[in-house]
Symmetry: C2
Subunit: 109 residues, 2 copies
DNA sequence: CCTCAGGTACGAAGTTCGTCGTACCTTCAG
DNA sequence: CTGAAGGTACGACGAACTTCGTACCTGAGG
């Protein structure tokens, strides 16, 4: 079951409520903001985001982001690859990533 | 004491988390989308939005929107005026209102 | 084989959120 | 003044959310 199921990614059916609810949490917002600020679609590991929560909670957060259609999770069994769905997001929610990048820029100052 | 108090509106201190949390609820999203689609800053009554919830719940929702810096509440004692903070929103969160309008357009079809 | 590290599934505890009931306040109409 | 309508404050209840503990699975390396 690595990925034959067409279901699992709801990028085509997510409404604004699901997206906003996913982006309510600061940790999840950090993940998306980092991915958005990167500029490239390169794959990242879950560990590369220094989330101050346990493994189980990280699994939960990435699942919420995936079900909101914001990221792509590639399961390698042992490892997991995280990738931003920039194309879909920019097409369906233009300006959203810029909002997150801008907030992170202000917060980081 | 109709409105001399400068405090009460947090438009200058709200973060994205507060805004997204406010926009998570479908009723609140409907209110903002309607206000945004209007185009003018004309004042509206709470009753003009046909929210299928009780008065107390409406009070709660409008308070959340106000604390998120999205609307302006004018208290007439007996009545209450609702007004969109379009200028501040467009300045600090450009593209957000367009997202809400677009979703409402799709949902309404 | 066994061990280890990354990830997941299930369940529990604590918190937040949406909703309403009851009671009270404010303004307008009579 | 009395009543009616809109709004608010406080409290309560159920649902959802965040977090973690425990147990289990998967792949790499000795």
């Amino acid at each position: 079951m690595t990925g034959p199921g067409p279901a699992g990614d709801d990028a085509g059916n997510t409404d604004l409520g699901t997206v906003f609810r996913a982006l309510t949490d600061e940790h999840r917002r950090t993940v998306i903001a980092e991915l958005a600020a990167d500029g490239s679609d390169r794959e990242r590991t879950c560990n590369s985001f220094d989330l101050p929560v346990s493994k189980q909670t990280q699994t939960h957060h990435f699942r919420v982001l995936r079900e909101a259609g914001l990221i792509h999770e590639i399961n390698y069994g042992n490892r997991k690859g995280i990738r931003l769905r920039r194309t879909e997001i920019d097409r369906r929610l233009p300006g959203l990533l810029d909002l997150l990048i801008a907030e992170r820029r202000d917060t980081g100052s």
